[in-house]
Symmetry: C2
Subunit: 313 residues, 2 copies
């Protein structure tokens, strides 16, 4: 099928965003609702329906030929269901069939949010033109997605690239996922802040104990704050190097709030990559900040939809 307009949904624990995405990546209409994350599943689905209805009111809607969904994971693209960790009312929830019915039977594709972000960076961002890439979001959690052989690699269930939950420390701290020493357990924003506080870092007068505040302290020369970012950087480097060693990638693209720390994160990250990415075919791996900003989820959900339906924009 061919469609030059896709209705995109970006579903997270905080908000449900929607847009009509044109073939050039422009957003022709937008809609958004807060996610009723503690409500039962039907109420969350009703919010999705409201977003779709608002998009359907756009004069452009009749041109939309498909719906692309990027959702907090895990998702199951095979079954068309989602079980987002932070939306407990949705467990194996039949999101794809629910959306398809709501939009009169249009084709619907589903990928995880890390895969959607990757599709956006590959289409128009820092991974453009790359045959192999890992794109990551380092924020409250750590997510990601892969480009292999010049194409998005969502994996059979739409979850591939889940770098936040690979273990880089097999004796490390237990992770809420059930594992141990996961990249997210070491490198997420809350864990950077927690580790700094445990090691004696104290916030400024404003009381801000976010990772951004730790980054500001590190930039001002606080060694404890810098060490917490250094530890996160090592975990990210080990995970990125593992990915490159396993599947061969040219570039790792890093977005999300923690990446806003800039050199406080990227300098020790590049240094640690030299230590962990040792084999000839992974040496010299590029690392770059993400470029797509807050619309990456929507643009990427549309890009993944086009790629999966085999239709050019």
């Amino acid at each position: 099928m061919h469609t030059d307009l896709v209705a995109a949904l970006d579903i997270g624990g905080t908000k449900i965003a929607g847009a009509l995405v044109a073939g050039d990546g422009g957003l022709l209409a937008r809609a958004q609702r807060p996610t009723p994350a503690r409500a039962e599943g039907g109420a969350v689905m009703a919010a999705v329906g409201e977003v779709l209805d608002e998009l359907a009111a756009s004069p452009e809607w009749p041109r939309a030929g498909a719906v692309g969904i990027g959702s907090a994971g895990p998702v199951d693209a095979k079954a068309g269901t989602v079980s987002p960790v932070n939306i407990p009312g949705w467990r194996d929830y039949p999101l794809v069939s629910g959306v398809r019915e709501h939009v009169g039977g249009l084709p619907v594709t589903l990928v995880g949010d890390g895969v959607a972000m990757t599709a956006a960076e590959h289409w128009q961002g820092a991974a453009r033109g790359r045959a192999g890439a890992l794109c990551m979001v380092v924020s409250t959690g750590v997510g990601g997605g892969l480009v292999l052989g010049g194409r998005l690699h969502p994996g059979p269930t739409g979850n591939a690239g889940h770098i936040g939950h690979i273990s880089v420390d097999l004796d490390g701290d237990p992770c809420p996922c059930g594992g141990r020493g996961c990249v997210e357990r070491i490198a997420s924003g809350p864990n950077i802040a927690r580790r700094a506080l445990e090691a004696g870092w104290r916030p400024a007068a404003d009381g801000d104990t976010s990772a951004a505040a730790v980054a500001a302290a590190a930039r001002d020369g606080d060694p404890v704050a810098a060490a917490s970012f250094g530890r996160a950087a090592r975990a990210l480097a080990a995970g990125i190097a593992a990915t490159a060693t396993l599947v061969e990638i040219e570039i790792a693209v890093i977005g999300g709030g923690v990446a806003n720390a800039g050199d406080v994160l990227f300098a020790p990250l590049r240094e640690a990559l030299d230590e962990f990415a040792t084999l000839s075919f992974v040496r010299g791996l590029e690392v770059a900040p993400a470029q797509m900003g807050t619309d990456a989820g929507l643009v990427g959900a549309a890009a993944a939809c086009w790629e999966q339906l085999g239709a050019g924009a």
Copy 2:
């Protein structure tokens, strides 16, 4: 191109093996030379030439339409060169052009030995019919390869699946590769034996301190020997779980001498996988012993050749 017979080479630090591989996987002719691993590059290439000459003397040789090489790595399939760690005379050695000239210009494909073994297991072994698989050799080293989307994934340089050199212990022991806490540094046969000896295990009267001897002791109830295998199993499980979490696979296939330990390895491995493979889409990952035996490298080099040339058997 289409060829129903491939001349396959399996190049390692100990021997250079060759065979004519038929479209059903049967070996119609064989040749072998010891690898002059400490000689200069030309002498190693001369041994490869002797293997090819012996194959060319077979009455079947005229039907061979291509050469497939699986080589100890790292390889560089893009450049057609190899730099096997254990053949120091070959550094960026132009193996592909050398072989091509020797065989009168037939097409030549090159992959790493872990990729070749994976091609064999996917074609006729334990990964047959699987859309996603990690195949590993756990022996003096730890190598591997990947099947993704139902196809071999050699990666652009032919090295993908190098699971032995991903770090699962970012604070761990330095690895000869330059990294730290690599799967191979923990799970290879020599490291299993070293760790058992360091922890107080003593060999039987025959003085055998191999990993096989440690496995025998573990089977007889020696807790120190069992603990060393348990540690190796945890490292393998963390690496396998990381791979599944990154690219989605259905099965991990394990061959090589250490896998001959059977339940001494596989029982703690399956237990540790339950700990590390936690997300919904990786839970229940299968683990199985390899099936292809000592000819896997030759059969796989041919299979990879067919797959890369886009020719059916």
